[in-house]
């Protein structure tokens, strides 16, 4: 605690806080133009200047921490004059196009210009011709840019793409793509969100609507397990084609939260239907006669509970292999750690000073995890140890140590890792003997990770205080995932690491907690709910009966943080939903959200109503979204098995891995996201598989043909095989030995 004064009033600051942060907390207003809570200070606007008693000059409050007893003045004639002059400079030659500008009034420059009453231009500069730049999903108008550098800061510090930079040239300065003519990035659109003026805008949205016409619906992203907070902005579609509502754009509270491109640009996955009695009766019949329901985890907690009730009432089986894998993993994990969930979270990753990522391609599996790792690396100088058979171009600039292991050898790797991390920890004899019994020579040889690499890991971690282990999606479907889970549980229990286990879909966690899942065996009379079946009910692509997609539903999901988050209706849906079917079958509630308060309390849910769940960030960044599930104690009776034979993968191997911003059949249906389903391999892979760039191939055991592309950024003999277009979640281990056949065109 540092005590100082602002305008003669006592204020306290935490260690590490700046004058600006302390002032804001205490309710003082200091104008800023370039300040972003989640990045390091851009320090480009100088609007945040304050006077202090220790020096004559003005200091920047956004980057200066207070010292004890400091007397700060935030309003004075001198400061007012200084700030007004800055605003006058900002306004020089700024195009007078507020009438058409996408900011349409929600503009920091407009606000501050009015605040400081700048009504005339007293300086002049020769106007330059600066044409608008078209960068795919993003348009950039240098004439509107005020060079605040917020965009470059988020891109570098939070996203990690580091794709844009400021080109300095006096009055000609502008934001430019880094080392390239056109923007080549992951198109998260975060730069659009933070831009205080209309310089960076979404090319799809530009000039289609004014901010004041859009109706804002706060919700949660439906595409991955991070469950990022977002706001759908809705308006009638067009006066020419009728008045149906349409989502125009997605915005977020960019001061504290971040979205990836799928959340920001992949919003039009809604489906439409009308009430068709005949079809409805058929669907009810199908459910009544079904032996099993196969479903995906892209549903709400409430739908999951309805399905569970169907199981309890009619004894149907529930198939969801993806959630079942997570469920079994967490059960095994808990049997060693003693808790039903893990202690880490996206926030704890971002605050770590050391992160180990094991067994997953986080950059595309869960961008929020990637952003948290980038934030940790950039803000805390976190050491990032990345363990995977494949290098990831997108993670390259934050990785401290890359540990490459052989596909399939995860169990050996994590056993060795546990041994390394537990070194010096107080553990039971049983565990000590397990660790001593590991056949290091064999494990190192088979996994191709040497002793020295583990030694390096311990060295890297020496000074780290807040450490997180991120367990990726590969592990969940590994043949020996149960034992791997126990080893992860051991690390959670015995070391000071927090563990985060990544789940795949938006509500994998919720489904795994709410439903008793059966193993998916060939059965007749399977109803597919958002998944394949003999009769399909769902909101993806072609279905026998359509039900609302997640942007047309009220309900909750449980994110990978074990946080219950609410979703709201952005686009109305006229047809029937699962609750209607359940009502016909005698499981009665008026609305789907009546189930929110019935979610199982023994699993940590709190039994609160949907309508009492909030969904917003407070002015100082407080997370007021839903609630976090209570962590439950479970029996700690797991026994870690010996690690024996590690599976081997030789020849041509495909790794199930989606391109950036593609996650599932829903993202595949959106209009803006790039749909690239090509099989990507290195030049070496091409030689091994006897393929040339551009060949059409079929993969044995998979439907359809794909184009093969040689990707310069890849190495080795593992190709990347996108699977987002496939609707069922039953995938198995992500590395797969494949047989490719060239299709002659």
């Amino acid at each position: 605690m540092i005590e100082f004064t602002i305008n003669n009033q006592p204020v306290c600051a935490q260690k590490g806080e700046t004058i600006l942060q302390a002032a804001r907390k205490a309710g003082f207003y200091i104008p800023t133009m370039c300040y972003l809570e989640k990045t390091t200070p851009c320090a480009s606007c100088r609007l945040c200047v304050v006077e202090v008693d220790s020096t004559d000059g003005l200091i920047l409050s956004c980057q200066t921490p207070p010292t004890a007893g400091l007397a700060v003045t935030i309003n004075s004639d001198r400061l007012e004059k200084e700030r007004t002059n800055i605003m006058k400079l900002y306004d020089v030659n700024h195009p007078l196009e507020c009438g058409v500008c996408d900011k349409s009034g929600a503009c920091d420059l407009q606000n501050k210009t009015l605040e400081f009453a700048v009504s005339a231009q007293n300086f002049s500069a020769k106007e330059q011709h600066r044409p608008v730049q078209h960068w795919g999903l993003i348009n950039y108008d240098p004439a509107l840019c005020i060079l605040c550098e917020k965009c470059t800061h988020v891109c570098n510090e939070i996203i990690g793409d580091d794709a844009i930079t400021l080109q300095f040239g006096g009055y000609k300065s502008a934001v430019v793509p880094k080392n390239s003519d056109v923007l080549d990035c992951t198109f998260c659109g975060e730069c659009i969100a933070v831009c205080p003026v209309g310089a960076l805008v979404s090319s799809n949205f530009q000039y289609t609507a004014n901010a004041w016409e859009l109706h804002q619906v706060p919700s949660t992203c439906a595409h991955c397990s991070a469950g990022c907070s977002l706001t759908y902005e809705v308006k009638h579609a067009s006066i020419a084609t009728g008045t149906k509502e349409k989502i125009y754009r997605v915005t977020n509270n960019f001061e504290v939260a971040t979205l990836c491109g799928a959340g920001r640009f992949g919003f039009d996955f809604d489906v439409h239907a009308t009430k068709d009695e005949e079809l409805f009766t058929k669907a009810v019949e199908a459910f009544k006669n079904s032996k099993a329901i196969r479903f995906s985890s892209i549903i709400t907690n409430e739908e999951a509970l309805i399905l569970q009730r169907l199981k309890e009432k009619f004894g149907v089986k529930l198939f969801n292999e993806e959630a079942r894998a997570y469920q079994s993993f967490m059960a095994a994990f808990g049997s060693v750690s003693g808790k039903n969930s893990f202690s880490g979270s996206l926030e704890s990753i971002a605050q770590s000073d050391a992160v180990i990522v094991l067994g997953g391609r986080v950059s595309t599996d869960n961008p929020a995890v990637r952003y948290a790792i980038t934030t940790a690396a950039r803000h805390n100088g976190a050491k990032v140890i990345y363990m995977h058979p494949l290098e990831d171009e997108l993670m390259q600039n934050v990785i401290t140590q890359m540990v490459k292991y052989e596909a399939g050898s995860e169990e050996g790797v994590i056993a060795m890792l546990a041994k390394t991390l537990l070194n010096g920890c107080d553990v039971s004899d049983e565990i000590q003997s397990f660790l001593n019994g590991l056949d290091e020579g064999y494990l190192c040889a088979e996994s191709n990770v040497g002793d020295e690499e583990f030694a390096q890991i311990s060295k890297t971690l020496i000074r780290a205080k807040r450490k997180t282990l991120v367990v990726g999606l590969d592990i969940l479907n590994h043949k020996n995932s149960a034992n791997i889970a126990k080893l992860c549980g051991l690390i959670e229990m015995a070391t000071d690491f927090s563990v985060v286990v990544i789940s795949q879909h938006v509500n994998t966690v919720g489904v795994s907690l709410i439903c008793d899942l059966d193993s998916d065996k060939p059965t007749d009379n399977v109803v597919g709910y958002n998944a394949s079946g003999d009769f399909t009910v769902g909101s993806m692509g072609v279905c026998d009966m359509l039900v609302p997609a997640l942007n047309s539903q009220e309900g909750t999901v449980t994110s990978l943080n074990y946080q219950v988050l609410s979703m709201n209706v952005a686009i109305g849906f006229e047809g029937y939903c699962l609750n209607d079917i359940a009502n016909e079958l005698g499981i009665r509630e008026v609305n789907t959200i009546d189930y929110t308060s019935q979610l199982p309390i023994q699993k940590g849910f709190k039994g609160v109503d949907f309508d009492s769940l909030s969904n917003f960030y407070g002015p100082l960044g407080e997370d007021n979204r839903g609630y976090i599930l209570e962590m439950m104690d479970v029996a700690c009776d797991g026994v870690i098995d010996d690690v024996c034979q590690l599976p081997e993968y030789n020849g041509t191997i495909a790794y199930a891995c989606n391109p950036v911003n593609q996650f599932n059949i829903y993202t595949a249906h959106t209009t803006q996201l790039e749909k690239d389903n090509a099989l990507r391999g290195s030049a070496q892979f091409a030689i091994a598989a006897r393929l040339a760039h551009g060949d059409r191939v079929t993969i044995e055991g998979h439907v359809g043909t794909k184009t093969f592309i040689i990707d310069e950024t890849l190495k080795g003999t593992i190709a990347l095989n996108p699977f987002y277009e496939e609707s069922t979640a039953n995938r198995g281990y992500r590395f797969e030995k494949i047989k490719l056949t060239k299709v002659e065109s």
């Binding site: 009438g99 058409v100 349409s104 106007e127 011709h129 044409p131 608008v132 078209h134 348009n139 108008d141 090319s203 530009q206 000039y207 289609t208 609507a209 004014n210 004041w212 016409e213 009638h236 067009s238 006066i239 020419a240």
Partner: protein
Amino acid sequence: MHVEPLQDRNVSELSAYYYVDIPDYPETGWDKFKQVMKRTFKGELFVGLWVVLREMIKFDIHTVKYPLEKLPIGPRYRAVHKLLRLWESGFERCIGCGLCEKICISDCIRMDTRIDENSRKEVTEYSINLGRCIFCGYCAEVCPELAIVHGERYENGSEQRAHFVIKDDMLTPLDWLTSGQQQEYPGFGAITPNESVKSTPLAY
């Protein structure tokens, strides 16, 4: 005649007023009968009929032949809207800012906009529901470009309550513009269309 004599309301040699000669009212029944007969058969009825017949044959009518003929409307009259073009370039004046849509108190203006090939905002659809419009003139007043104005076309009867004018109905046709038929309405920032109107020189 001058007004002075009329101001003297007294009947005298000097004033313009005099007594009219009013015959005595008939008093007996017989007298009343005689008056009726005299008025009926004197032929005055036919004088009137003849005037009507004569004027009808002459086809020299002095009333307005609506709907073939309309009286000129004052420039401030607020009838069906028009969308104007720029004199110098023929471009549409409307920039699609949406202020008219926002200010409209009967919520009857709607528009669709998009980004065009030159990265400018383009108004693709623009409609006003005349059935709701109360012709308050707010839209014309708020328009920063003097693009939307009220015209003089006041007939908007319709068999339905909702009826619309769309952009094509309201926008000045290009040949009207070149032939100088686009009317300019005086007001703040209005121009006087003449040769001195030129496109802005861009010094790039």
